[in-house]
């Protein structure tokens, strides 16, 4: 397929990714956030597949498959299990009101577009809108992590951040080394496992609030 088609598809996927990110930021229930991040990972997998067919890079197939298998299916299922087992309150607990978080999200998106426009020299190396969207997703994932109290939503934020990094990395036309991408995925899987263990262990007596860890003081 032609370069323009690929660019249009990447642009469209970028918009859909931003939409799922907004859903994550504005989610009122944990289930919605988990489904949104699963959908987001699915879109990343599709993006990987499209880029793989257009550039002929075999590594991208691997990445797309891994994202589909691990981040779109396995990890959300793990989170789902934890939520069910824990029977936590379905509400996410925001630190600042959701409206303020949404306003910050808009500012972050605008700034990431502005930033990528000023990094003009990098532009031809990355297909389409992937750089600003990737930066926005990463920053918004960190925003979610910073503005939520429950560990589960913070995990969702971590997954979203990683999606953003992957999106930009996949769209680099020269191709990223496979080892970096495998490494990132492994880190995320590890983090999810650690979180699940902590929550399931600690949560039998207290709720899974990371904020409660500040009791561990001298």
């Amino acid at each position: 397929m032609s370069a323009e088609t690929v660019q249009t598809i990447i642009d469209d996927l970028g918009a859909l990714l931003l939409f799922t990110m907004i859903l994550i930021v504005a989610a009122g229930q944990i289930y919605r956030a988990i489904y949104a991040v699963a959908a987001q990972s699915l879109l990343i997998a599709i993006a990987g597949g499209v880029l793989a067919t257009s550039t002929g890079n075999k590594d991208l197939w691997v990445i797309a498959g891994l994202t589909l298998g691990v981040k779109a299916t396995l990890l959300p299922w793990v989170l789902h299990l934890v939520v069910q087992r824990m029977n936590v309150r379905r509400e996410v607990e925001p630190v600042i009101p959701v409206a303020a978080t949404l306003a910050l999200a808009v500012v972050v998106v605008v700034m990431s577009f502005h930033l990528s426009a000023s990094l003009g020299s990098v532009q031809p190396a990355i297909t389409g809108n992937a750089l600003p969207v990737g930066i926005a997703l990463t920053l918004l994932g960190v925003l979610v992590m910073a503005t939520r109290k429950t560990a589960l939503t913070q995990m969702v934020g971590l997954f979203a951040s990683e999606n953003g990094i992957f999106f930009t990395a996949m769209a680099v036309t020269q191709g990223m080394p496979l080892i970096i991408e495998i490494g990132v995925i492994l880190d995320v899987i590890l983090a999810a496992l650690v979180m699940a263990i902590i929550v399931l262990r600690v949560g039998s007596t207290v709720a899974a609030y990371i904020a409660d860890l500040d009791e561990l003081r001298g």
Binding site: D11, A15, L16, I22, A26, L102, F113
Partner: protein, 314 residues
Amino acid sequence: MTGDRPLGLVLLEMTLLVVLGPLVTGTIQKIKARLQCRQGAGVLQPYRDLTKLLRKGTVQADTASDFFWLIPVLVLAATVAAGALVPVVRAGPPAVPLGDALLLLGLLALARFLTAVGALDAGGAFGGMGASREMTIAPLVEPVLMMVVFSTAVAAGTTELGALAAQRGTSWLLAWHAADFLGFAAMLVLLPAETGRIPVDNPDTHLELTMLHEGMLLEHSGPGLGCMMLASHTRQIVTLGLVAALFFPVGPADRAGATGLLLGTGAFAAKILVLATFLALVESSYAKLRLFRVPQYLGVGFVCALIALALRIL
């Protein structure tokens, strides 16, 4: 910028919208009923309701002023006039300039204002409550609509709906920019708010604590109530037509003659059917939001529309 839609066609489209409006409501009710595992009333039930109301007499509250009799007339006139601004069967600006998306939104706002004023006329708490809530939601919907219209109009350079549809291309394939996904998402968030459906409002109930739009209609009766109901059917199909014109301008633009018109009508009907099914599915899947959660819900739409605009401009 005179176009190729003669005034006669515009008026015909307007009449078509008014005639088809109750059918859309009936379809949504039927789909909801089927999803609730019951038969439901027929698709033509709203027409029967309207004819029944036109035959009845009127009961008016003793404190209502002379405006009260006029309110259904003005509301129906404003809503139907808004219908004249939506391109239905053929895209392209009308031969005589009429109005654009902003005028359409203004006419719908006029209808809403007059309904609220009429609700306060009879005195009593129900009308006041419905009017107060409706006028709380309305100002929050307008900025989002404005951003969506802007995000689609910025590329085309015009806000006139027929010209906008023609500019975005009316081939049978959708040519969507990345920003349109987010703009469409914002419009989908707004649809229940504009048409008065769950999760913003409940159109099936007559308990005063759960209704916004219906609460304002409580004191109307007989032909007046028939006019107000026809106005709300028309408002619904006009909003769906607005979404179709902004985001799905598929259909023949330049084929004149009977085949062109028939194909255009068919395409429009298909689009409206898809959107109506979406509304019915949303109504059956979600619960009505608390009134003070609605601004948050609309805030998601606003953020989507703002990012859509950012994607277009930046």
